[in-house]
């Protein structure tokens, strides 16, 4: 990711008038020097607006370099949509043009679909899932599309089952495509955040692949460790009032941790965030929940509800110093201990004075 293999056709003012096929041909020739397996051509706004005939240039290149695959992503910059639409369109183009759909599922192989390439923890999360799969005698077939190869993508259909990394807008668009167009099977559970979700995924996988005898030791061992981690926290967090303001609608790992520690959840405000599927909490009926929460209400709610701890995806300045504040990641680390690890941070934060010194200097 440090120096992406991205070449530009260097469109200039004259290209806008006379067209840029020559520039594109030169850029393609430059890209072929190292004989990559595949070259993707992506169009920008300017290319789309002037109606550049990129397809013809690509077809000519295909004839000239028959050992290299060429694929065209007609993004036309923003004309076809925003950033996320580009990610979705490109992924679907890759799936439809590169995957060998004639291949058939074989053995105990699983695909991981829709990992977030730009999240800092995507490799950490991958290694956790891989560890779980290996413990269940399963194998990762293809990471679509994250640190993968053209060969892996071609063999995507060899997997018996697919796990969605995140059930967000991107993940749902991909799974809808794979299910509706190619009949792929997905687990009900995506990458798991927190103890319960992790157990759910392991149970689902073990049931599908008949690996119950392998799953139970994993679950029981981690249940024991989970309890060992939670137990010392209860004395310090039980009865503490906690308020949650979140962009993410995947909140159960937080709720189950807070409830498991005997904390008093005084408010859950879910902000309107277009990337999310909608709240699907198993605790929704028992929470003081406000959907489409207006963040400007935070101050008044804090003054009114007097929480000990306010947790949100981002910390903001200017909120009352009667509470302590902590941040939850938009893309948490996955696994059994996401919640309990976060709770150790809550404990530490609550052990401190409400406001640290630098915050008192705001008036300066």
């Amino acid at each position: 990711m440090i120096d992406p293999h991205i070449l530009s056709s260097d469109m200039s003012e004259s290209v806008m008038i006379y067209g840029g096929s020559d520039n594109l041909e030169k850029a393609i020739e430059k890209a072929t020097v190292d004989r990559p397996d595949c070259i993707f051509i992506v169009t920008t706004c300017a290319s789309g607006i002037i109606g550049e005939d990129v397809l013809s240039v690509m077809e000519n290149a295909k004839k000239k370099h028959d050992d290299i695959e060429f694929h065209l992503m007609n993004a036309d910059g923003n004309i076809s949509g925003d950033f996320m639409q580009g990610v979705i369109d490109s992924s679907i183009m890759v799936a439809s043009e590169i995957v060998d759909w004639a291949s058939i599922p074989e053995g105990r192989k699983v695909n991981l679909i829709g990992e977030k390439n730009i999240a800092m923890n995507h490799e950490h999360n991958f290694h956790f899932i891989k560890g779980i799969l290996n413990a269940l005698d399963l194998e990762v077939n293809c990471r679509f599309i994250c640190n993968t190869t053209i060969d892996e993508i071609k063999g995507l259909n060899r997997a018996a089952l697919n796990i969605l990394a995140h059930r967000d807008y991107f993940g749902r668009a991909l799974s809808d495509y794979f299910v509706n167009e190619h009949g792929l099977k997905f687990t009900k559970n995506p990458f798991p955040i927190g103890y319960n979700e992790t157990v759910d995924l392991i149970c689902e996988l073990s049931k599908y692949f008949s690996a119950d005898e392998l799953a139970q030791p994993i679950i029981s061992e981690n249940r024991k460790r989970y309890e060992e981690y939670m137990s010392p926290l209860r004395g310090q967090l039980e009865g503490k009032r906690i308020m949650l303001v979140a962009l993410s609608q995947s909140i159960d790992w937080i709720v189950e941790t807070a409830k498991g520690l005997g904390m008093d959840i005084v408010k859950v405000g879910i902000c309107d965030y277009s990337q999310e599927e909608g709240l699907a909490s198993r605790y929704a009926h028992s929470l003081p929940l406000e959907m489409n929460y207006d963040p400007s209400k935070r101050k008044d709610d804090i003054l009114d509800l007097e929480p000990d701890l306010v947790i949100s995806n981002y910390s903001s300045v200017g909120l009352p110093n009667m509470a302590s504040y902590s941040v939850i990641p938009l893309c948490p680390d996955i696994g059994f201990f996401t919640g309990v690890e976060m709770a150790y941070r809550w404990k530490n934060i609550l052990s401190l004075p409400r406001t640290e010194g630098w915050k008192k200097d705001a008036y300066l």
Binding site: I2, D3, P4, I6, L7, S8, D10, M11, S12, E13, V15, M16, T44, C45, A46, G48, I49, I50, G77, N78, I79, S80, G81, D82, F83, G86, L247, C271, P295, S312, Y314, S315, S316, V317, G318, A362
Partner: protein, 426 residues
């Protein structure tokens, strides 16, 4: 002369134009373009020149801001390519005009192709439109074109020049530690009794920019960002300029050269300024003497530079002439025919070091002076290298101590990093 080995991901003219406008202390910039062109510029403007304490996206939830405090956008989509973006522009200008001294509207490349008549929306005293920044131009071109267009429109002609004043041109908020750099140059100039009138599009107010003609002359800080601006000011406002022949003032030799050039122009006594450099040389002598006694270093250690020419030239002199280090490779971010580029070429050739004028790829220096991306990339091949960031993009180190890349402070910081880096390498 080898140029940037990551040229395809180097900032371009659109970035240069936005960075120029965001450098006006009481200005705001509207990007008439898609969100894809917005995020980097919003982030880099806010991080380089913060105007607010919060980066909580919930505090910037209004539709044009997309969670960022700077560079609101019209988020052009396919509909706007048919029906135009005027209404979106109008909503934003209604919000911003009056709150800011100057509101700049910068068209993205796609928006510029629409050739929409946005001038009709412009309040010509308080707004400013950059219809096109070019399509594949360099950041240096984009920055200078934007500044010149702004000055063409707003700089006041016929002002009475104030003696012993200068403008600094060719420095932007995209330069690493730009505020510290300006303070360092101010400090050097003040020792010669010279005051800075305006720092053009890097922290000065709109009013100061209008009064750019008040200064006696312009000093170019980074030639690639400032030569054309200085030439324009000479042509249109009859203002002379100083283009320091040793590049930006970093490293004692270059700082002394800078002082002598400026003092000569103003016919003032340079000794107070030169004495301060002498004091710094004396201080560093003590450090280097002890360091060298134990290790023999930094003499004989190797270095590479990949940077803008205005930094490469003085840093080369610092490492080669002052520290006795050996150049592995020197490569530049632009092949423009600048005097600093020619200076590097001719000096290396005169020393029999012409072979060092090559790309970083394939060289294995002990010390690499460059931007964060280049350093990271190089470390994949050369894990022992000590990378010293002198330009953006950055690895994201949070600076608390106010720092500089230029001046005495910049020289100290770079020297300190070289010495400690070499101890790790050797």
């Amino acid at each position: 002369m080898p140029t940037c080995n990551s040229i395809d991901i180097a900032p371009d003219a659109l970035t240069g134009a936005i960075i120029a406008m965001e450098g006006i202390s009481d200005g705001a910039t509207i990007l008439n373009g898609p969100t894809g062109c917005k995020y980097f510029h919003g982030a880099i403007s806010d991080s380089q020149y913060p105007r607010s304490f919060s980066v909580d996206p919930l505090d910037y939830g209004k539709v044009h801001y997309f969670g960022q405090p700077r560079v609101p956008t019209t988020y052009l989509d396919s509909n706007d390519y048919v029906f135009g973006s005027s209404e979106k522009v109008r909503v934003l200008t209604d919000e911003l005009v009056g709150k800011y001294a100057i509101v700049s509207i910068v068209n993205s490349p796609g928006a510029s192709l629409l050739a929409e008549d946005l001038e009709r929306l412009i309040d010509k005293d308080r707004m400013f439109l950059i219809e096109t920044t070019g399509f594949s131009g360099s950041m240096f071109d984009g920055f200078q074109n934007a500044v010149i267009t702004l000055l063409e429109r707003f700089s006041i002609k016929g002002l009475e020049e104030q003696d012993m004043t200068v403008n600094l041109v060719g420095i932007s908020i995209y330069h690493k530690h730009w505020q510290g750099n300006i303070e360092e140059i101010r400090s050097i100039l003040s020792k010669m009794g010279i005051r800075v009138n305006a720092v053009v599009c890097a922290g000065s107010s709109f009013e100061d920019l209008k009064g750019v003609g008040n200064a006696k002359c312009n000093i170019i800080v980074h030639e690639e960002y400032g030569l054309r601006i200085a030439e324009w000011l000479r042509s249109e406002l009859s203002m002379p300029f100083i283009n320091p022949p040793m590049g930006a003032p970093v490293g004692f030799g270059s700082i002394e050269s800078f002082i002598k050039n400026v003092s000569s122009f103003f016919d003032v006594d340079p000794n107070k300024a030169l004495d301060s450099v002498k004091d710094s040389r004396s201080h560093c002598y003590g450090v280097l003497s002890r360091y060298n006694s134990l290790s023999g270093l930094p003499r004989g250690a190797t270095f590479s530079i990949h940077s803008d020419p205005s930094l490469a030239l003085p840093l080369f002199h610092m490492l080669y002439d002052y520290l006795g280090m050996i150049p592995e490779s020197i490569s530049l971010t632009t092949d423009s025919k600048l005097s600093v580029s020619k200076g590097i070429d001719s000096y290396l050739t005169s020393k029999g070091l012409g072979d060092a004028l090559r790309e970083l790829s394939g060289s294995f220096p002990d010390i690499l002076l460059s931007d964060g991306n280049t350093i990271s990339k190089h470390r994949l091949d050369n894990q022992l290298v000590e990378g010293i960031e002198i330009s953006l993009p950055s690895h994201g180190y949070s600076d608390v101590l106010p720092k500089a890349t230029l001046g005495i402070k910049g020289t100290y910081i770079i020297l300190e990093k070289i010495l400690n880096g070499l101890y790790r390498v050797y």
